[in-house]
Symmetry: C2
Subunit: 89 residues, 2 copies
């Protein structure tokens, strides 16, 4: 799986948890299957842009905002890797 | 097909044409099939978020920027529909 798929899943989870919703509640609001939402959050499936839009709409962000959140997460992960590498060296 | 799939295709086409690239050139740069790029631009297929990222990368925009462009296109289309409805009434 690509880094994007992982960061997308993390972004969805972060936004869902910020709303204090269960995966079931997000699944209902986005008209997706509960187990599918779990797979998305764990970065195990590659969602289509239509699925991304459904999730963004349910999470009350626009789709560009959802992907901007993915980019923030990717940057944070890169910084974490650099810091870990610095500690290890 | 959803409005997003159509506006995504239009955004890709606009950005490609702004670079004066053929579909073939975009296909090569994004490591996608030429006819698949054509289908995406015509809104005939639903791309995955990974395909969207490949296209964004090839077009030298970030994925959030590509979806922001989709939203601009959707707004323009809505305004056009309202204007047409006003002329017709």
């Amino acid at each position: 799986m690509t880094a994007l798929v992982e960061s997308f899943g993390l972004a969805v989870r972060q936004l869902r948890e910020a709303k204090d919703w269960s995966q079931e509640q997000l699944a209902e609001r986005s008209q997706l299957n509960r187990s599918y939402v779990g797979e998305v959050e764990r970065g195990r499936v590659i969602p289509s842009i239509v699925t991304a839009q459904k999730l963004a709409f349910a999470l009350e962000v626009n789709i560009a905002g959802l992907f901007a959140q993915c980019e923030v997460i990717e940057q944070q992960r890169t910084i974490k890797r650099i810091n870990l590498a610095a500690i290890a060296s």
